[in-house]
């Protein structure tokens, strides 16, 4: 149970902004190294601007490091090309964002089907069945045919989670998934994540402000100014979580 699936080695992220003739470069992550184990439920915390979201996007192949290397299951993703990264995001990662970000023109079911259809590996019929199953898993089976604007924020976020799970990702990445929700809906999302981790041994990495949420995970990584300030494993992966 202790095999490493994500490994970051001396990752540096510097953003260069050209402001007129002036070149301003900002280092967000100076030099960070860490790894994640399969089945681990981790939380990355830290103040705003500490680079925790940037780290999550680097891990999830949404962004590329300026220096350093990132491996997913021993494959170096930081060396891949744009097209390969797109496939990787589709097959290996599932994302949940702070703003629920569903496609407004599509129903809940269609939104969940979208990652499955993107690569054309499955038939529409099978995608539909799988999506319905996932919606059931997140407790949204009765909202299949609703458009996002007919749903509450909490409901939208659960659908976003279902979508993130569409292609059975190796890692579920969440960026402030409860940042925009009230406490009741936040609680629902925590429980959902816990359930996914416990029942499916789903690897989850969550970026959050929410200490309460962070405490319920296996591992809490606190980042300040792009450096790891604290990295505490509170529980072993696979162990049950008390609430």
């Amino acid at each position: 149970m202790n095999d490493i699936i994500i490994k970051a080695e001396n990752v540096n992220k510097t953003i260069v902004n050209k402001n007129g003739g002036e070149v301003v470069s900002t280092t967000i992550l100076p030099d960070i190294s860490l790894d994640f184990r399969r089945g681990e439920f981790s939380a990355i915390t830290g103040p705003s601007g500490s680079g925790k979201t940037t780290l999550l996007y680097l891990i999830g192949a949404l962004d590329m490091p300026t220096n350093g290397r990132i491996f997913l299951e021993e494959k170096e993703i930081s060396a891949m090309k744009e097209e390969e990264l797109a496939e990787l995001r589709n097959e290996k990662f599932g994302f949940v964002f702070q703003f629920h970000f569903l496609l407004p023109e599509f129903t809940a079911l269609e939104n969940v089907m979208m990652p499955m259809l993107a690569r054309g590996r499955t038939t529409v019929k099978r995608a539909r069945e799988k999506a319905a199953e996932l919606l059931k898993q997140v407790g949204m089976e009765d909202k299949q045919n609703n458009k996002p604007n007919q749903l509450s924020g909490g409901q939208q976020q659960r659908i976003a989670v279902a979508r993130a799970l569409a292609n059975d990702p190796i890692v579920l990445l969440a960026d402030e998934p409860t940042g925009n929700l009230d406490s009741k809906n936040s609680e629902n999302i925590y429980s959902l994540f816990e359930k996914l981790n416990r029942e499916n041994n789903q690897t989850i990495i969550v970026v959050t402000h929410d200490e309460h949420f962070a405490l319920r995970t296996h591992r809490k990584i606190h980042i300040i100014d792009g450096k790891i300030d604290q990295d505490i494993r509170t529980k072993e992966p696979g162990s049950s979580i008390q609430s």
């Binding site: 979201t53 996007y57 949404l62 589709n90 496609l103 599509f106 979208m114």
Partner: protein, 421 residues
């Protein structure tokens, strides 16, 4: 990327979400296509009906009495820097422009298998007098039976009897414009004054209208009478009209005649070249203007796409985060452009068809100054007007979609997903 259905679906849903804007740009394309089809139809209708009339009622090749100039040294050698050429200018006999021994020449011409028939004419500039009206008039002497095979007078008669001309040595046939100018009708006697002052009193046996103003201003008599009026001996005529059996080879006939007889022979295209060139120029201007109409419609498509891309950056970021490739994002927006273009152009084709029907049913007063007389707009109808206009609009829209679509692909998901910016 085998299956693009879902990309098409995304494109379509996004468009239908912005109904008003999509329909407006669609309408732009429709109007552009309609105007394009109407303009092509108008221009081609005019040119085609003109050409058709000419082919039907004018000679395909015209042989005139003008001798071809033999090539002589002053035309062959250009004085250069270091050469000195002395020459004496050739002296020509300035003959009257007549075809001598026309029967022999016609025999020669008719040996050409491309020639369907030939008929001799005498063309004269005379003065016509009727009542108080005195006007210069182009008079032609013809052999009525064979002339009819070219100029189809019999079909164009509006009063009188064409066959009577052959039996009436002093008969005269008037074009409708000439008849109007003189206010003459069948049975009247018109005086024709020859160059040498002789006056011939001729009886109007018929009036015709071909629809081509050039021909309808002329008057026609028997060949013998015209030779008499012009003072030509019986073996001389001024022109020979030829009909060929293959229009595409008329220039071969003309060349052959030039070589054989040394008389000038021109094809109908050469004769009508100034009118055809004018038509061509007008067409160019019209197409140029219409091109801009479609171009503006293309801007409409670009506009819809640009706003769609701007408003959909969130969705684009999401699509990228769930693994859509740049190329697939591009395809989504190209699809949007194509959907607008194809629906718009299809509607435009229907509108264009309706426009042609409406315009060709409107009666208009004909102007006598135009080349072809007609009581309504002469609209062409051809499938290629539609396929061309459709294809052109789709092409313009496709080009208009490329830049917004590529901008869409360039959206950086990280910036948008971080938070609402």
């Amino acid at each position: 990327m085998k299956n693009k259905k879902h990309l098409f679906l995304i494109a379509f849903r996004q468009l239908s979400q912005r109904k008003r804007q999509s329909i407006l740009s669609l309408a732009g394309i429709s109007v552009g296509v309609m105007v394009l089809i109407t303009a092509i139809s108008l221009m081609n209708g005019l040119v085609e009906s003109f050409v058709q009339k000419i082919i039907n009622i004018a000679p395909h090749v015209l042989v005139s009495g003008e001798k071809m100039l033999p090539l002589v040294p002053d035309q062959l050698i250009k004085p250069g820097k270091n050469s000195e050429v002395n020459f004496i200018k050739n002296v020509y006999r300035s003959d009257e422009e007549v075809i001598k021994n026309y029967k022999k020449i016609m025999d020669l011409i008719e040996q050409d298998s491309l020639v369907e028939m030939a008929t001799p004419l005498v063309g004269l500039n005379t003065i016509g007098k009727f009542g108080t009206t005195t006007l210069p008039v182009q008079l032609f002497g013809i052999i009525p039976s064979s002339q009819d095979k070219i100029e189809k007078f019999k079909k164009s008669m509006i009063s009188g009897n064409y066959d009577q001309l052959e039996r009436t040595p002093d008969g005269i046939l008037l074009g409708t414009s000439a008849a109007q100018d003189f206010s003459a009708k069948v049975g009247d006697r018109i005086q024709i004054v020859a160059n040498n002052g002789n006056i011939f009193s001729l009886r109007v046996i018929g009036i015709f209208s071909t629809g081509i103003n050039d021909i309808d201003g002329n008057v026609y008599v028997n060949l013998k009478l015209a030779q008499n009026i012009g003072g030509y001996p019986p073996n001389e005529v001024t022109d020979i009209y030829i009909r060929v059996n293959n229009l595409k080879k008329d220039y071969l006939v003309a060349d052959n005649i030039k070589n054989l007889t040394n008389y000038k022979a021109i094809t109908w295209e050469e004769k009508a070249s100034s009118v055809l060139a004018l038509f061509k120029m007008i067409s160019m201007i019209v197409y140029f203007l219409v091109f801009f109409v479609v171009l503006v419609a293309g801007f409409g498509v670009a506009n819809v796409l640009i706003t769609n891309v701007l408003e959909k950056t969130r969705d684009i970021a999401i699509l990228k985060s769930i693994g859509f490739k740049k190329s697939e994002i591009t395809v989504i927006y190209i699809f949007q452009g194509l959907i607008v273009a194809i629906i718009g152009a299809a509607i435009g084709c229907l509108l264009g068809y309706g426009m042609i029907e409406i315009l060709s049913s409107i009666k208009i007063a004909s102007s006598s100054s135009s080349a072809v007389r007609a009581d309504r707009l002469l609209m062409g109808k051809n499938l290629w007007y539609f396929t061309f206009s459709f294809g052109f609009a789709v092409l313009v829209s496709l080009i208009a979609s490329i830049i917004p679509a590529r901008n869409a692909a360039k959206v950086n998901p990280v910036e948008i997903l971080r938070g609402e910016k």
